[in-house]
Amino acid sequence: MRPWQKRAAIIGGGLAALGVAAALALNALNSNIALYVTPSEVVAGKAPQGQAFRIGGLVKEGSLKRDNLTAHFVVTDTVKEVPVAYTGILPDLFKEGKGAVVQGKLGPDGSFVASEVLAKHDENYTPKEAQQAIDKAQAAAKGKP
């Protein structure tokens, strides 16, 4: 082995070892890196009790109700649901059927009081006209028996 090959082997080996160490560390920290828990995890009791955390999921269609300045809605992962109450201004992209991340505390009755609501956008970018065409087609399909 020539000297440069030896050095290259040391670099390669070092990087491989570092990669394994990073993978193990990240794996161990998995639950701490996640920004939010899902409604299923909350219902299963995996959410931290008595301290603030975040729930992420879809805002259930037809669940948004306003009562003075407080918005009530349901966050779902299509399996389990958590009712949320939030007093404040909702972000522009906050919509029923779209993703949202809410931060706050879980009450004793299983409802969630949010102190912050963030809209989670998906990776789809569509022109307005195309979206209108899709909406129309879907509405037409729904209208038919």
Binding site: W4, I11, G19, L35, G56, L93, V117, Q132
Partner: protein, 250 residues
Amino acid sequence: MKENKLIHWFKYASPQSFYPLAGKMIPWFWALTAVFGLSGLWLSFFVAPTDAVQGDGYRIIFIHVPASWMSMFIYIVMACWAGLGLALNTRLSGMMAQALAPTGALMAFLSLWTGAFWGKPMWGTWWVWDARLTSELILFFLYLGFIALQAAIDDARRADKAGAILALVGVVNVPIIYFSVKWWNTLHQGSSVSLNKSPTMAATMLWGMLLMALCFWMYSIAVALMRVRAIILERETHTEWIKDLAEVKQ
């Protein structure tokens, strides 16, 4: 006969022969930057349609996505040069790594900055400690650390070696940034463009973004070449060939 036609690539590993070559390439890369930049901006701001959900605010992606891509890619290239320098002890490798770092830092900063401006109206917050944003911030700090470490050591060869080790250690962060949106729950959305599925955006939007990405590539190459020429002049200032250069003699 055939022997003569081969380009002797290793010739360009010496600063003396790379310096004039880089000088010849720089105007071409600037020209390409202008071509891709103008066509990309025109497509991005005048042709690409308004997004159905985000309105015109989505147009930040024409800067944000190319800058993020470049910030990750430049880091990998920088680490490759650093590794080559450590293994082969070539002088030019360390200079290339040093020349790339400020541009990489700029791209990482642009990515974070434009992302924050997009995040406020769309998500409802400037910043959130999710895996994607945090790992990109770490990348920015890695660039700054690399620059600071190299600047702190007076002996250029030792500075290169110390910087190279930092650059190589930091390279584990790049796949973490890229896959963070897949591995963990993040507020940041997943990739719109990736190698294993068709893009989830309209064609003109995609073309605008790709042209801007090409523009950022050309800009990065042009600036890195200019910077490496300055570094060569600085480090080799004691040599005969530099004293004989036309631009130095004046």
